[in-house]
Amino acid sequence: MKAWIAALAVAVALPGLAAAQEAEDRSGQRYVMVVPISGHPFWVAIRNGAQDAADQLGVRFEFTGPVEFDNRAQQQQIEQIAVTRPAAFLTGAFDPTMSDTIDRVTEMGIPVVTFDSDAPDSRRISFIGPDHYNIGWEYGRKMVEMLRERGLEEGQIGLLTAVDQTNLQVRIRGLEDYLAQNAPTFEVVATEDNRGDDQVTADRAKAMMTANPDIDGLIVINGTGSGMGTAINELGLAGQVTVLTSDVFDPILCAILDGSVQTTSSVNTYLEGYLALLFAYHYVNGHLDNVPGADVGVNKLPPVVDPGLFFIDASNAEQFLTGSCG
């Protein structure tokens, strides 16, 4: 909460601080966001947040990244784009080796703000994103709460995740720790890789439920929850298995409204993109050079800003729909 309040204070104060210094034309400044799978709808809100910040500040914003999930390709793109001297990079660190890339471009004089997934050991100037361990912990708490509402005091839980994403592994650790410490009668009985693909989620979830017919709850750790909705509908298990998914896209919201998914988690990802670009802008343009101790290494920006987590269910899903459910 403290980090959240600090971020809000900085976000509110910085534009005012900057206003006096806007005489210079900065329309040529390029802020480049590089993500590991550019085609996924997860980035839409983050990209929109960064674009809005760029429009307000009068700078250029570019969004790029490999089409399929590829950490290495993401890092290569960052290093290739660095040669063109952008003002700053905004990126998510979904692989531990991202720290080396961040340090290399920082040495070239290009600062990096991380969002959504952090590289705390790197020289990034700030991280705007959730604590993934805490997200996993909250998944555990929410799932147990929903299963207890069904009258269950013990139960089996299945997980669908993308195994090559470090942040998702951290979420699973938080989830398992919550269960071990607070609800040991609920256990994770199966974990499957969905490769970030809804169709794979549907097929593997069905196989998982066939092999584990006593599963009471399913958690999709990444944004492929509508594939889980498909699996539940094809097996005719809507309402019999409790489903918790991640992220907010229309197909997931429609799955909540048709009853195949009960809830989905949402991080305020728009704010991740908005604050990432805002922080980078003020850092690059020297607006924070007067921070006491900045010249001897004191952080000019909050090291970590958590944009917060909330759950969406059938009672409020319609408010988040951008289109319709057909």
Binding site: G39, E68, D197, D198, D203, A207, M208, G326
Partner: protein, 328 residues
């Protein structure tokens, strides 16, 4: 006195050997072995619910594999089928999202797929571009088109009637999308074996020079191979969108490599002239069966890649053993 039937047919032992050396039979045997082992290890494998799950999981890839098999047999390759699927799925969903009737959305979807097929076919058959490089380029262009059209958004406004048409289960508890997939695979399989025009793809892939000398319009045939592959990718996009009730910017992403792998395992040669639709379909079935078995057996996700890889190596080894047997 000589028994004429004994002269006409080889001894039973040799007939069996010849049968087993057929790629499709070898893959079918491997499928049966994997299935038998899985049914011993798990009581859940040999249930109708699980087997129908496998068929549903195969359906989209089988449709795409049928088109790719024709391209491979003709001596070409098409890396753009996954992107074509993505473009068609997003085009279909966007038109529906705009409130247009289903026929209009399907027409746009079909035209989008046809445009890619015609572009691929024209540039490869008539301009002489290398199919690997050209379809790599159209794959990239297609995925970019997906992002341009969708702006990264996914779409869920798919009419219930359209979803129901493919997901209804009229026979044996299998949804219509499985029957569509099996029907397309069977029809193209028969055509490729029996129809004179379709048989020409084998001549083309076996030796283009010989095909030209035989009076075959090889350019037109090559062109048609890519058009057929694109139209089947379009059908796969329609089936996927109906099944998931949504279209995503990553629809079909990475599908081309999985399907090419399946087709090659099923006996299609990347040098052309060899393979069948049945073999490609069995290759898809084997790959999906392996995925299913590994999940059913609750094998750790970290070990699944090792297990799947070993079974694929086994599939390749059986092919090599068969070929050595044929040479002897």
């Amino acid at each position: 006195m000589t028994d004429s039937s004994a002269l006409a047919r080889p001894p039973a032992g040799l007939r069996w050997k010849a049968l087993i050396r057929q790629r499709e039979v070898a893959i079918l045997l491997l499928i049966l072995i994997v299935g038998a082992v899985a049914s011993v290890l798990s009581p859940f494998f040999l249930t109708w619910a699980n087997l129908s799950n496998v068929l549903i999981a195969c359906s989209v890839e089988m449709i795409v594999a049928a088109g790719l098999a024709i391209v491979l047999i003709s001596g070409g390759i098409d890396l753009s089928v996954g992107s074509i699927m993505g473009v068609c799925a997003i085009a279909l969903a966007i038109v529906l999202d705009a409130g247009a009737p289903l026929w209009a959305a399907l027409s746009v979807c079909l035209l989008a797929g046809l445009a890619f097929g015609v572009a691929n076919g024209t540039l490869i058959a008539y301009a002489g571009l290398n199919p690997l490089v050209l379809t790599l380029a159209t794959m990239t262009i297609g995925r970019s088109v997906v992002f341009i059209l969708s702006q990264g958004y996914s779409f869920a406004s798919i009419p219930q009637g359209f979803k129901s048409a493919f997901n209804a289960t009229p026979l044996f508890g299998l949804p219509n999308l499985v029957w569509v997939s099996l029907g397309v695979t069977a029809a193209l399989g028969v055509l490729l074996q029996r129809n004179v025009w379709f048989r020409r793809f084998y001549f083309l892939g076996g030796s283009e020079v010989a095909a030209i000398r035989a009076g075959i319009d090889t350019r037109r045939l090559k062109f048609m191979a890519y058009v057929i592959a694109a139209l089947l990718a379009t059908l796969a996009a329609i089936v996927t969108t109906a099944r998931l009730g949504s279209a995503f910017p990553n629809t079909g992403s990475g599908l081309e490599l999985r399907v090419i792998t399946a087709a090659v395992i099923g006996g299609c040669s990347i040098y052309g002239g060899k393979g069948t639709i049945l073999g490609a379909a069995l290759g898809v079935l084997l790959l999906n069966l392996i995925n299913n078995v590994l999940v059913i057996l609750s094998l750790s996700v970290y070990w699944q890649g090792v297990a799947a890889g070993l079974i694929l190596i086994l599939a390749i080894l059986t092919d090599i053993a068969n070929r050595r047997g044929v040479r002897r």
